[in-house]
């Protein structure tokens, strides 16, 4: 191979836009011109507008629906009810967790905001007017608003339509080894416990969910523009749910205005709009308003967790027990791999070498919206990470240890990887002490501890929060992880045209993560075609290979791996063509950074562009023409990003207000393809973690009315509230990923809530305050202070 100096390699990489280059984003151009193309921007000839009539009650029997007044408004085309859908066997649909969900309610409504009827009209304004006139006669029933209420004996049965369902229990699921864990607890020198609640919140992407369904009555073609993070999976599910022939269905997920998990499930609105378009023979647009989005679509969290860690005489963690009770709402519609009822919550042993663990999870129906999506996390990893990091904080307090010391003393050590966890995961790689050290150095930890001691002596409240998270992302492998039976591989199709420019088509789907840039950079690195010459296409099921989509930080771990592998396939085919052009043996052909040469003749090269041209013009006998390929990549394991986050807070004793002074975030996501984009992802994740810790809450009153149904009640941080972030990194490549990348989209949302809460608890634990459940609003902190007799 031609010998390159390090400088030359770096210069070539920069010019190419390869891995490690902070290339400005290719997709920006359309967005800064206002030319992004989102679902609500789709306008088709003859298009109608749909508005959903929703239940004002959390739990009520439907005695009748009268749509006469609505139908009388000029411009109203149809009012669709559950009764009509039932005639087409569409009143109920399967969920991603193997349950059923009402498309439009027929018998009862089971949460406030549930879909009861749909009005379809010539304009959205007319549809809104008419929706207000649909009269539904309800007989209110008692609402169940917590899982504890739900599983209490004698509770009213929410899912009474389900055969054999005599209570509100959904699932019971266990992981780990009970006996080994019991034994560990039996010999523990100390047991520390924590009971905590991770409240319901909502991903609330700035663009709500919606679709434009266009069913051609003549051809039978169904084109559905849809806010979908997983268009291929959705196409298959549409085929199954609606009974449409799959080859006639084309899902187009255009630009998405954020997703964060909210655009993974299939919602009733999509199904009704599609059915309505079929029945009426015109395109139907349905776009949620913000209240629709917050009260009816995929919420997140709502996990009640209690558990204990067993600690030996040396301060080592020897066992972990966790009990989980989840509030899944009225339908079990969690978006998660089918074999795991509580997602990947069993990663709850976190970054610690805990030889025995036992996790017991139970789920319950309540009169709340269904969904259970992972708001910027990989299937409940956030709840797990939160629990273990909060429990370790409790252990530090009880043992009188520094929260850093207790972590360093219990981390899985770098040489222990690949590490087999007690709950069944094989961690691929990690160096937790190093990430911790980098974070401590950045923060100036020891100095801040001194400052804290001085302040405490003066009665001032300052806290330093520590969280050292480990995620598990990038599902599959397909054998163990599937969504509704579809194995969690992903795909990339790469086509290099005769002039050496390429189109890369992916099964994943960006919602703002910058795939058009990052994935082009992978091709640049692997094949030597400049990133600027690689056009990335996603989101159109007719024109991209089948994949499971973008969530759970899986695009780079799975779709990125597929991109690297398909590039290597073409690189290898290029060798055959190069051998032909050089009239040399293929075994003697070398490749580096887009150039082929014969061993020993490094200066006589054929570029990848030469090879591409030859692939269409000058092929060796017997070789198939063209330079294109497709790879379906089934990962051998998941990836395990990690990091340490440190947060400094100051608390006002008089008001309970928490001021976040500093946030240091050291992430290790393996190899960083575009560092600028990676840091942008971390900024966003930290902000959403901050939001969950301090502001965002979907809660309900005793009658099941949703509190948090708009942006005046569901508080999203603005630039004013959001803290500044200081980022650091370590790089521990994933050994099984073709380019060593692990995924970064969600680390900060997973890792940061515990760091924020631990900081507050660190400021208060000397007063005997050991837990406050999120969000840590001023009133809660104030009340905690008052409960300990602290005043001004």
């Amino acid at each position: 191979m031609a010998v390159e100096t390090a400088e030359a390699t770096e210069a070539a990489r920069q010019a190419m836009g390869g891995i490690g280059v902070s290339l400005a984003r290719k997709e920006d151009a359309r967005f800064i011109h206002g030319q992004g193309h989102y679902v609500d921007d789709v306008v088709l000839p003859g298009m109608l507008h749909m508005v959903i009539v929703r239940s004002p009650h959390a739990h009520a029997r439907i005695k009748g629906i009268d749509s006469t007044a609505a139908m009388a408004i000029p411009g109203v085309v149809a009012v669709v009810t559950g009764e009509l859908l039932a005639q087409h066997k569409l009143a109920w649909m399967p969920t991603l967790s193997g349950d059923t969900q009402a498309v439009l309610a027929t018998d009862k409504v089971r949460f406030q905001g549930q879909e009861v009827a749909c009005v379809i009209a010539e304009t959205k304004y007319i549809a809104e007017d008419a929706a207000a006139l649909v009269s539904v006669d309800y007989e209110p029933l008692q609402a169940i608003t917590s899982p504890q209420q739900a599983i209490a004996p004698g509770a009213i049965v929410i899912r009474d339509e389900k055969e054999g369902q005599t209570d509100n229990k959904i699932y019971h699921w266990e992981a780990g080894d009970k006996d080994a864990t019991d034994a560990a607890f039996a010999r523990a020198a100390k047991v520390v416990s924590l009971e905590t609640f991770y409240p319901r919140c909502h991903p609330a992407p700035l663009e709500t969910c919606g679709c434009v369904a266009d069913l051609d009555p003549v051809t039978g073609n169904a084109t559905i523009y849809m806010t979908s993070q997983a268009p291929h999976a959705h196409r298959t599910l549409f085929a199954i749910v609606a009974g449409l022939p799959e080859e006639k269905i084309r899902i187009i997920s255009p630009d998405l205005g954020g997703g964060f998990g909210n655009k993974v499930p299939i919602y009733p609105g999509y199904v009704v709009a599609t059915a309505a378009s079929l029945l009426i023979g015109r395109p139907v647009k349905w776009i949620e308003d913000r209240t629709d989005n917050l009260i009816s679509t995929g919420f997140a969290r709502d996990y009640y967790m209690d558990g204990s860690v067993a600690i030996d005489e040396n301060g080592k963690f020897i066992g972990l027990r966790v009990n989980l009770l989840s509030d899944n709402g009225a339908f079990f519609a969690d978006a998660q791999p089918s074999k795991f009822k509580a997602g990947l919550f069993h990663i709850v042993t976190g970054s610690y070498d805990i030889p025995a663990a036992h996790i017991v999870a139970n789920g319950a129906y309540t009169n709340k919206a269904p969904g259970g999506v992972a708001y910027r996390c990989s299937f409940r990893v956030t709840e797990a990470s939160y629990f273990i990091e909060r429990l370790v904080e409790s252990a530090a307090v009880e043992l009188g240890q520094d929260p850093v010391t207790i972590r360093l003393n219990n981390f899985i050590q770098p040489e222990a990887f690949p590490y087999q966890s007690a709950s069944g995961f094989e961690y691929d790689s990690g160096d937790y002490p190093r990430a911790m050290q980098v974070a401590l150095d950045m923060l100036g930890y020891d100095e801040l501890r001194k400052e804290q001691a001085e302040k405490r002596a003066k009665g001032e409240l300052m806290g330093i929060g520590v969280a050292s998270f480990t995620e598990v992302v990038g599902a599959g492998k397909g054998k163990d992880y599937d969504i509704a039976g579809l194995r969690m591989f992903d795909s990339a199709e790469l086509r290099v045209h005769p002039t050496g420019k390429a189109i890369l088509k992916l099964g994943v789907k960006s919602q703002g993560q910058g795939h058009e840039t990052t994935f082009a950079q992978i091709v640049a690195e692997e094949l030597g075609i400049p990133a600027s010459d690689v056009e990335v296409r996603e989101g159109d099921t007719d024109n991209t290979p089948f994949g499971l989509g973008t969530y759970a930080s899986r695009s780079t771990p799975v779709g990125g791996a597929a991109t690297a592998m398909v590039s290597r396939k073409l690189r290898d085919k290029g060798k055959l063509i190069a051998a032909h052009l050089f009239e040399a043996d293929v075994a003697d052909i070398e490749f580096a950074r887009g150039k082929y040469n014969v061993k020993g003749s490094p200066d006589n090269v054929k570029t990848i562009q030469d090879i591409a041209f030859a692939a269409y013009t000058n092929l060796p006998d017997g070789l198939e023409a063209g330079l294109e390929g497709v790879t379906y990549y089934d990962p051998p394991n998941m990836t395990y990003p990690f990091g340490t986050y440190l947060v400094v807070v100051d608390i006002d004793k008089g008001t309970g207000q928490v001021k976040v002074r500093r946030v240091v975030a050291v992430d290790d996501c393996g190899v960083r393809i575009n560092p600028m984009i990676v840091e942008g992802q971390i900024h966003g994740g930290l902000t959403e973690g901050f939001a969950i810790a301090f502001m965002e809450l979907i809660t309900f009153d005793d009658e099941g009315n949703c509190i948090g149904s708009n942006f005046m009640d569901y508080l999203i941080p603005t630039a004013w509230e959001t803290p500044r972030f200081e980022l650091g990194q370590t790089v521990t490549p994933s050994p099984h990923h073709p380019i060593g990348a692990k995924g970064i989209g969600e680390s900060a949302t997973v890792g940061s809530p515990a760091a924020f809460v631990n900081a507050v608890i660190d400021a208060l634990s000397h007063l005997g305050i050991t837990n406050i459940d999120m969000p840590l609003t001023s009133d809660k902190v104030w009340a905690a202070l008052r409960s300990k007799g602290v005043t001004e």
Partner: protein, 161 residues
């Protein structure tokens, strides 16, 4: 009713129901879809446009309120194929991810630095606090606006010289 106004330098006269929200007028009647809708309560700012140079949330205005006014939307930022400095700033500083809040953010940012050419970080954060971004955490939006402010300053200095 008929409403007459100017949008991005072009005079328009449109027939519209008086109750039509300006954001719907712009998106539906005029077919300019760069102005977005993110909430129903004027909290998110995705619908921000400039009205006689001042940022307003176009979901809080009724169509007749445009009479005789000048509206600037994101589509009016670039002139003659040349990007506005605020657009350059957002691109260079990675001030956008999904792009949904971006038109509103850019317009607020542009109005901000026109009123205050050398804003502090706090002034920028306060100035954009009527607009929500779910993706970026605002760090790079602040940088993007600073980038544009610096570019404007350089251009003005160059003009004087």
């Amino acid at each position: 009713m008929k409403v007459t106004f100017e949008i991005n330098g072009t005079a328009k006269s449109v027939d519209v129901e008086p109750r039509t929200l300006v954001v719907d007028l712009i998106r539906t009647k005029l077919g300019m879809t760069g102005t977005h809708i993110g909430c129903d309560t004027s909290n998110c700012g995705a619908c921000t446009v400039l009205l006689d140079g001042r940022p307003v949330k176009s979901c809080t205005l009724l169509a007749p309120m445009l009479e005789g006014k000048k509206v600037t939307t994101v589509e009016g930022l670039a002139k003659g194929g040349k990007l506005d400095s605020i657009q350059v700033g957002f691109h260079e500083e990675h001030g956008l991810q999904c792009g949904f809040c971006t038109p509103g953010m850019m317009l607020v940012g542009k109005a901000l630095i026109e009123a205050n050419p050398h804003p502090t970080e706090d002034e920028i954060r306060w100035g954009i606090s009527g607009n929500i971004c779910r993706c970026t955490g605002y760090m790079n939006i602040v940088k993007a606006i600073q980038h544009a402010a610096a570019a404007n300053a350089t251009e003005n200095t160059a003009g004087v010289a």
